[in-house]
Symmetry: C2
Subunit: 230 residues, 2 copies
């Protein structure tokens, strides 16, 4: 009988029974990063089937880690929110992420490029502060990708709203960024920098916005952690 428990009273074992099932840690990361709606979660774990996502959310609910609420005055819309027990998983997910950033070889991570995921994360962490105090539109283009995933727009509306579009929003573009997905991902992960990769990045448009790119690009939460793998 695969997947009985570990039969250990140890808290590590008990917790691992809940936390260390396939996809769970990744889903928790997504919840902790702030996604609450089913389809937002799907975006964050695109390779997970909706059936399994649904299943895992139920498991987490049964474990007291998330709760499902209907949004007030919106019939049929739901939110998954972390309970205090769920919030308290933040140190766990952080520890896992820090270890991954330190010890997993970049080559391996960079085998899993995914523009939707990257852009979704960039949207989440983008820092509007260095940008002009007006609506700013940045177009990112990865020429090597098929048309449907090639071009993306980030709309930044002061003071803090950031939107991601995969269709031309029609506004004037402040900055055109053209590069390859691997370079952009490596920068976002903190493995390199805009400056170091300047030969691989083409920036056209507002000089100030271009110059502050490394700043407004909010990097991965783990970007500051240096690689330790020998």
């Amino acid at each position: 009988m695969p997947h009985a428990g570990f039969k250990q009273f140890c808290p590590v074992a008990m917790a691992a029974e809940i936390l260390c099932t396939r996809w769970t840690m990744v889903l928790l990361r997504e919840l902790i990063a702030g996604s609450t709606r089913f389809n937002d979660l799907r975006r964050g774990v695109p390779k997970m089937s909706p059936t399994l996502l649904s299943q895992r959310l139920k498991d987490l609910e049964a474990a007291g880690i998330v709760r499902r609420y209907e949004i007030p005055r919106k019939k049929g819309l739901y939110e998954y929110r972390l309970t205090p027990a769920g919030e308290d998983l933040r140190p766990v997910v952080e520890a896992v992420g820090i270890w991954g950033q330190r010890w997993v070889e970049s080559q391996l991570s960079l085998k899993n490029l995914d523009p939707s995921l990257l852009m979704w994360d960039m949207r989440r962490n983008l820092n509007p502060q260095p940008l002009p105090n007006r609506r700013t539109v940045i177009q990112l283009m990865y020429p090597e990708l098929p048309v449907s995933k090639r071009t993306w727009w980030l709309l930044v509306d002061p003071p803090g709203s950031v939107d991601l579009c995969w269709d031309d929003p029609g506004f004037d573009i402040d900055l055109f960024v053209t590069t390859d997905l691997r370079t952009m991902t490596a920068i976002w992960m903190g493995l390199t920098s805009v400056e170091k990769e300047s030969s691989k990045i083409d920036l056209v448009g507002d000089k100030a916005v271009a110059r502050s790119m490394q700043q407004w690009l909010g990097l991965s939460p783990f970007a500051a952690e240096a690689k330790r793998v020998p």
Copy 2:
């Protein structure tokens, strides 16, 4: 195809691919607690089949987390030791254990009683310091258990050696402890104390050793973490 990767460059996902497979977290706890030999590891994860243990150790080796050494001058004896990457997993395992101690209901943990595991852990964490400065022998008895698992002996030899026996070592006994496994486990986990459970524990022998039981019993590494489940 079950069990491909998550296809995410995120360090949490990359790390989870390595760390969140079945048994791995529990095995890591055992390695971090200090077990190095194959059969010691088996003792720490008794419900894991040797085949799978062997498999996981190979996986961990491939991931750069453990290394296998032949013990010098002892042909055929091996040790599994954590690499720096493995040592750096300590914060991960700690975070998982702390969360488990805080949020997993005691009832659930205490469904997984196991005298061998408990005694093995008691041996590891026992604190000889409050004991007399001579060889001290403590007999633990769980009358409800079958004979083969009923009686255990802890041999403490100053300054720091602690042995566990499951056959009468023959020495004079300083303290006879008789209780039930659930009570002893709950105490060891920090869920209650020797004093609170005094009605369920029978202590016969050296008064001083009996009185300092709560002290020399080295508790679980997570015992200090208070339950938070509502």
